[in-house]
């Protein structure tokens, strides 16, 4: 299984689901995500699983709800407008504490927008696009290999915590090809004592999200948030490059972090003490790691393909102790030169102040 193969991001996600022993997929076509569907439409029947093309994203997420109730390891995939349509369903899945993996291969927006790579669904998924108090674990891969690793990790986390996990890609990651190695298969899902599989040999299992007496709802929310605090304590993940002595710390995730890293490398070559902090989990946001990485920092740059969304978590994470600026492009992945130029200009400013 350790053969290196060249694979397109979306197909890699599909194969990762297969290797994660996910045997049920429900989805609806949308560019730039569609190859996930197409891959699984071909592969799942070969593995004895079921690919069901839902008639809409709303149906897809509710089929996921049902399949997860029935004890299956299950996934859906879509892109920004389709993910918007899933918000009610996601709120239900989170409330019902069902494991489920949701892939968002983000595209240009708002509205119909375009099919360009984008990171503009950060607020939606990281803060909560659905109604009510809940959280999604959000993973932000930055390469095709990580699309695989994070998809498989998403299944593990979603089952460990009984909570939906979103994998955040974008049009470029979904469409590009890189060499990848697939890890070993995950074991099939363990028995879920709470699943509604027919009450053979036990009392009835019920999955629902209605808590009519107010105290019941309050307790339910506290139970959920106890779990979320647990996740915050254990699952914050990040990666760092050149942070030890970084005076200018670029914070960037996903595909943007790749070019940010190239920009930082160029800055280092130009003698600028720049570094990169890459959140891998967007929720829980790795604030403690950020604080540590920013010890020498005099400026933080939030580099995103959105109009300034993650920057709020960067500000909250650094507790406003260091100024934070925004570098962004929309509709495209910026190129390393642009980031480098931005760093260079800011380095001038920073040294003037310092």
């Amino acid at each position: 299984m350790s053969e290196v193969i060249l694979m397109k991001g979306n197909e890699a996600i599909g194969e990762a689901a297969i290797r994660a022993n996910c045997r049920h997929f429900f989805g609806y076509p949308i560019t730039p995500q569609t190859e996930v569907l197409e891959y699984l439409a071909r592969r799942l029947p070969e593995e004895g699983g079921a690919y069901v093309q839902a008639e809409s994203e709303i149906s897809a997420i509710n089929m996921v709800f049902g399949a997860s109730c029935a004890g299956a390891r299950v996934m859906t995939a879509s892109s920004s407008p389709g993910i918007s349509l899933m918000q009610e369903g996601i709120s239900y899945i989170a409330s019902a504490q069902l494991p489920a993996v949701i892939i968002n291969i983000m595209r240009g927006a708002p509205g119909l927008g375009g099919i360009h790579p984008s990171q503009a669904d950060y607020f939606q998924s990281v803060k909560g696009g659905g109604h009510g108090d809940y959280k999604l674990i959000v993973l932000a891969p930055s390469s095709v290999q990580e699309l695989i690793d994070h998809t498989m990790l998403a299944f593990e986390l979603s089952e460990k915590y009984r909570t939906p996990v979103m994998v955040f890609g974008d049009g470029m990651l979904g469409q590009m090809m890189e060499p990848v190695v697939f890890p070993d298969y995950l074991p099939p899902p363990v028995d879920r004592p709470w699943a509604t599989t027919g009450m053979e040999g036990r009392g009835p299992n019920i999955v629902h999200t209605l808590y009519l007496p107010a105290p019941d709802l309050e307790n339910h929310c506290h139970r959920l948030f106890d779990k979320y605090r647990d996740i915050e304590a254990r699952e914050k993940r990040s990666q760092e490059y050149f942070t030890d002595d970084a005076e200018i710390l670029v914070v960037s995730y996903g595909i943007a972090s790749r070019v940010a890293r190239a920009g930082v490398e160029m800055a280092r070559e130009a003698g600028i003490k720049a570094g990169l902090f890459r959140p891998i989990t967007l929720w829980p946001f790795p604030d403690l790691q950020l604080q540590a990485a920013a010890k020498q920092a005099r400026l933080l740059i939030s580099a995103e393909i959105s109009m300034g969304q993650m920057i709020e978590d960067v500000r909250l994470g650094i507790r406003d102790k260091v100024p934070v600026k925004l570098f962004n492009r929309i509709g495209l992945v910026p190129n390393p030169d642009e980031i480098f130029e931005f760093i260079k200009a800011e380095a001038g400013e920073v040294s003037k102040i310092g």
Partner: protein, 188 residues
């Protein structure tokens, strides 16, 4: 060592296949690679292009502002990508469809009559392979001795009946540039 390539043309001219071959072959030769297609399934009849990066080290950015090598198969691609080419870079132009002159003189440019060459060898669909041959010959990015092998692996055994023709087209492209006076690229 890090080399990047952009190939561009109409959808259907096989530019994505060219890029794919490059990426595959380099991967088989143990390099790090990334391949980024433009995608536009929601758009019909547009242009297609891809960016291939090949490196000894892990590839930070899969996108490049100023590619070292650009292949243009049609006119709009020339207009779009000539200005972006890195100074000192290589520009290969499909002369059969592009009738405009190259403007820059800080680059190495070569016009190749792909369609005519393809017609000559009786494989009119082979324009892209002619061009690919030319590119490989000029950049030496791939060990030419294994091309057939790489082709089979890239396309997973598809098009086996066309393989000999494809090889022939590639070689025609190689021969064509060998006969020309093009300086082999020295990247800044």
């Amino acid at each position: 060592m890090k080399r990047d390539f952009v190939m561009a043309g109409f959808g259907g001219q096989g530019v994505l296949s060219m890029g794919l071959f490059l990426a595959y072959a380099a991967m088989i030769e143990g390099k790090k690679v990334s391949y980024v297609p433009s995608y536009g399934a929601e758009m019909r009849g547009g242009t297609a292009n891809c960016t291939v990066t090949i490196s000894d080290r892990e590839i930070s950015s899969p996108v490049v502002a100023h590619p070292q090598n650009v292949v243009v198969m049609n006119h709009p691609s020339l207009e779009k990508f000539e200005p972006m080419l890195k100074s000192g870079g290589l520009l290969l132009v499909n002369g059969s469809l592009v009738h405009q002159d190259v403007q820059r003189n800080d680059i190495h440019a070569l016009v190749i009559p792909c369609q005519e060459l393809a017609n000559e060898i009786g494989f009119p669909q082979g324009s892209n392979m002619i061009m690919l041959g030319a590119l490989l010959e000029l950049t030496k990015i791939i060990d030419n001795n294994h091309i057939y092998d790489y082709l089979v692996k890239t396309f997973k055994g598809k098009y086996m009946d066309k393989m000999p023709l494809n090889i022939k087209a590639m070689q025609t492209g190689m021969d064509y540039v060998r006969k020309r006076d093009v300086k082999i690229l020295e990247i800044a």
